[in-house]
């Protein structure tokens, strides 16, 4: 630790700390233009120049990269320093008079109109001020090596190699992120990911998977992470105090032996851009139900404030029910939960904003405990209920000369008129759909699906949690749309069933099994390869095949294939089936 004096204040810092950092510790501000926390300082702008006095001698150095020495005396506002700053700022202001950071710095330092004019005067507000931060980011941090300086003197500029579009650029956006003037622009695709996860707005390669995830541990998307492409960056690891980031972690495949499986893989929501008339994905401020949930959430993109894309509060909100549900063009079934969450949205919008709220419904399905009472309470809160499925959402100006907004066209069947309701924000109640990979998942467990695509239960009334495959249970929205109380009940029931089997310690299996009558078996081994469970083995000493009764599931494929009729299937023997054929054709 060394002690130095900055502008009369004594401060103790580690040796080799830069003057800039020491000044920060001492509470003294030194102006900078090319400094960033992401990379080592390189003293290009010279704005941070300070005077260092040692004995009778003084010198001007750049505070950002000059290391302190014990007993140093630093003056950040001496006459010489002031003169230097004035010159630098006037040079910058004469060349880039309209760039915000330059003007603000000039104002802060009390420097106004420059004394001279520049031949290279650039009026643009987003002009490149040659600070070189983008170059440093690209070369030292990201290590993609795409940006660089070219030419000298007045012709100096930041360029790509050969002034051409570069294949090396990994489109990480770091250059745009550090650029102080906004000269570098990233053209981002308007990504509203729909399945299976979604985001509102861009996200970083290291992110927490969902709002309020448990555990709240971030993951790194190796495809977009700079480090995995160029071996550079590592800023997240440098920032992490407990050093919890390990880039070398690999995916692990873990095999666990289990006896029972509970499949509770949930649902996806209907992609409303398939219904072009509602403008989802095309018009601003049309949100799906899950997107609005994340807006409402205090850990979401708006911190729980209900605002439109332009940051203002909506004056009116329309909530449209049955998007994709109860629709012969999409899903004929009712998604069960939407009426209630639509009422919840209405209640929260009413609570947090002064917006007028309109609900466009076909029927109000308030089937649960306390649900109808909640609906009645909402009617008292002054929500306008319009019975009639909304026909379309269009853009339109309303309320005099306000900015363009949205209008919902519908038929109000209770009053028998067509209406056009002006709103600022539209919330859609998207249908619940089976997950996009539900076919792949159900094939793993031999589960069938019902006509709506959700997993098929053994019996809709008497056994809604198990499937036709023993030991495989289903629960929650994977089996069909339902809300939280019903999901909890179903899941508890499935868990209880599983536990009762586990507690017994043994399982009862069907007696339908195949068996080899060894005296007839010719040892052809046709059956061995047919069995999907590998239950048939060939006994070398006896030269006959043998069925392992524990593995055999009784499908009978081997019985049908046996050329010697040596294989019989208990319960479905040849004699039994032939007798059935005989009986049916009497």
């Amino acid at each position: 630790m060394v002690t130095i004096n900055i502008d009369g204040t004594t401060v103790e810092v580690l040796e080799d700390t830069t003057i800039l950092k020491a000044a920060e510790k001492a509470g003294v501000w030194i102006p900078t233009m090319c400094h960033s926390e992401y990379f080592e300082p390189y003293g290009v702008c010279r704005l941070c120049s300070v005077e260092v006095i040692r004995g009778k001698r003084s010198r001007i150095v750049t505070a950002c990269n000059f290391p302190v020495r014990g007993g140093m005396n630093v003056q950040t506002n001496s006459e010489r320093v002031q003169w230097i700053r004035k010159m630098i700022m006037e040079l910058m202001l004469s060349r880039w008079p309209n760039v915000k950071v330059v003007r603000e710095m000039g104002e802060r330092l009390g420097i106004g109109k420059p004394r001279f004019a520049s031949l290279e005067r650039d009026e643009a507000e987003d002009a490149c001020i040659l600070c070189g931060m983008c170059v440093n980011m690209c070369n030292d941090v990201v290590k993609a090596g795409v940006l660089g300086f070219s030419h000298t003197g007045i012709k100096r500029e930041v360029v790509l190699p050969f002034a051409e579009r570069s294949e090396q650029c990994i489109v990480c956006g770091s250059c745009a992120h550090v650029c102080p003037t906004g000269h570098i622009k990233m053209v981002l695709e308007d990504y509203r990911g729909k399945k299976p996860e979604f985001t509102l707005g861009p996200k970083t390669p290291i992110y927490v998977p969902t709002l309020q995830a448990v555990p709240r541990i971030p993951v790194i998307d190796t495809e977009s992470c700079i480090h995995f492409q160029t071996d550079g960056c590592e800023i997240c690891a440098k920032t992490c105090e407990p050093n919890a980031i390990d880039y070398k972690m690999q995916d692990e495949i873990v095999e666990i032996d289990v006896g029972q499986v509970l499949v509770a893989t949930g649902f996806d929501i209907f992609d409303a851009s398939a219904m072009a008339q509602y403008g989802y994905g095309r018009l601003d401020n049309v949100y799906s139900s899950l997107e609005f949930e994340s807006i409402l959430n205090s850990t979401g993109p708006t911190g729980g404030k209900i605002v439109m894309k332009n940051g203002k509060e909506p004056r009116a909100v329309g909530i449209i029910h049955c998007i994709g549900s109860r629709d012969i063009n999409h899903h004929p079934y009712c998604s069960r939960v939407c009426c209630m969450y639509a009422l919840k949205f209405a209640h929260l919008v009413h609570d947090r904003t002064d917006a007028a709220i309109y609900q466009f419904y076909i029927d109000m399905r308030a089937f649960g405990k306390g649900y109808e009472e909640f609906y009645t309470r909402l009617l008292d809160e002054g929500i306008t209920m319009i019975r009639g499925k909304a026909a379309e959402v269009v853009e339109g100006r309303w309320d005099g000369n306000q900015e363009s907004s949205l209008k919902i066209r519908c038929e109000d069947t209770l009053i028998g008129k067509f209406r056009e309701i002006p709103v600022d924000m539209v919330i859609l109640c998207n249908a619940m759909e089976p997950r996009v990979d539900s076919d792949a998942v159900r094939r793993l467990f031999s589960i069938s699906k019902s006509p709506d695509g959700f997993f098929l239960e053994r019996h809709p009334k008497l056994d809604p949690t198990s499937t036709s495959t023993d030991g495989v249970f289903i629960a929650g929205c994977a089996q069909g749309p339902k809300d939280i109380p019903d999901t909890v009940a179903q899941a508890s029931s499935a868990a209880a069933r599983i536990l009762s089997v586990l507690a017994k310690g043994e399982v009862e299996i069907e007696p339908v099994r195949a068996m080899v009558q060894e005296e007839y078996c010719s040892g052809c081994k046709v059956c061995n390869g047919l069995c999907p469970y590998g239950a048939i083995e060939f006994l070398e000493e006896k030269k006959v095949s043998h069925v392992n009764e524990a593995l055999c599931k009784g499908c009978g494929t081997c019985v049908a294939a046996c050329p010697s009729s040596a294989m019989t299937g208990h319960g479905f023997t040849d004699a039994q089936i032939l007798a059935e054929i005989d009986g049916l054709l009497v």
Binding site: R443, S446, S448, K449, S450, P451, L456, S468, T469, V512, L530, P532, Y533, K553, G554, C555, G556, T557, V559, A560, A561, S565, G569, F572, T573, D574, A575, I577, L578, E580, I581, D582, L584, L585
Partner: protein
């Protein structure tokens, strides 16, 4: 009296039998001509059964199973799809119109498809008329048995 075809249907327990059950529960109207024999898997259906059915006077035989990839026993229906089309090619040589044997995939949730298939099969058999199969006297003894 109009000719009512007698059709034997071999239905696999998990998919097509359940689908047929669903058609019944849903009160979907279908022709009564298909007489159902339940096996655990369509892979259990021995071609000998089909031949026996024709021999005993069935005008048509339909085999139904799970869709490919959805077999409750993983691959049983792949064996079926090897056997039945092959048998179809052979029965023409025995004097049985190949259209009298049909293979269909009906899943557990496809009640209306089951009804549609049954109705179509019945109409086709009605159009084809009764099966006229000459069974040689001596070959009665050589009939299929276990």
């Amino acid at each position: 009296m109009a000719f009512e075809p007698r059709i034997i249907g071999f239905l696999c327990n998990w998919c097509s039998y359940t689908g047929a059950d669903l058609a019944g529960v849903s009160r979907i109207k279908s022709a009564p001509n298909v007489r159902v024999i339940r096996t655990m898997c369509s892979g259990r259906v021995d071609p000998a059964f089909i031949l026996k059915a024709f021999q005993l006077g069935a005008d048509g035989v339909i085999v139904m199973g799970c869709h490919l990839g959805d077999c409750h026993y993983q691959e049983g229906n792949y064996k079926t799809i090897r056997r039945i089309p092959f048998l179809k090619r052979l029965i023409g040589g025995f004097g049985i119109d190949p259209r009298r044997l049909r293979l269909e995939w009906v899943s557990a949730s496809e009640g209306d498809r089951f009804a549609k298939v049954v109705n179509e099969m019945t109409e086709e058999m009605r159009a084809l008329g009764p099966l006229k199969l000459y069974v040689h006297q001596e070959s009665e003894q050589a009939a299929v048995h276990v």
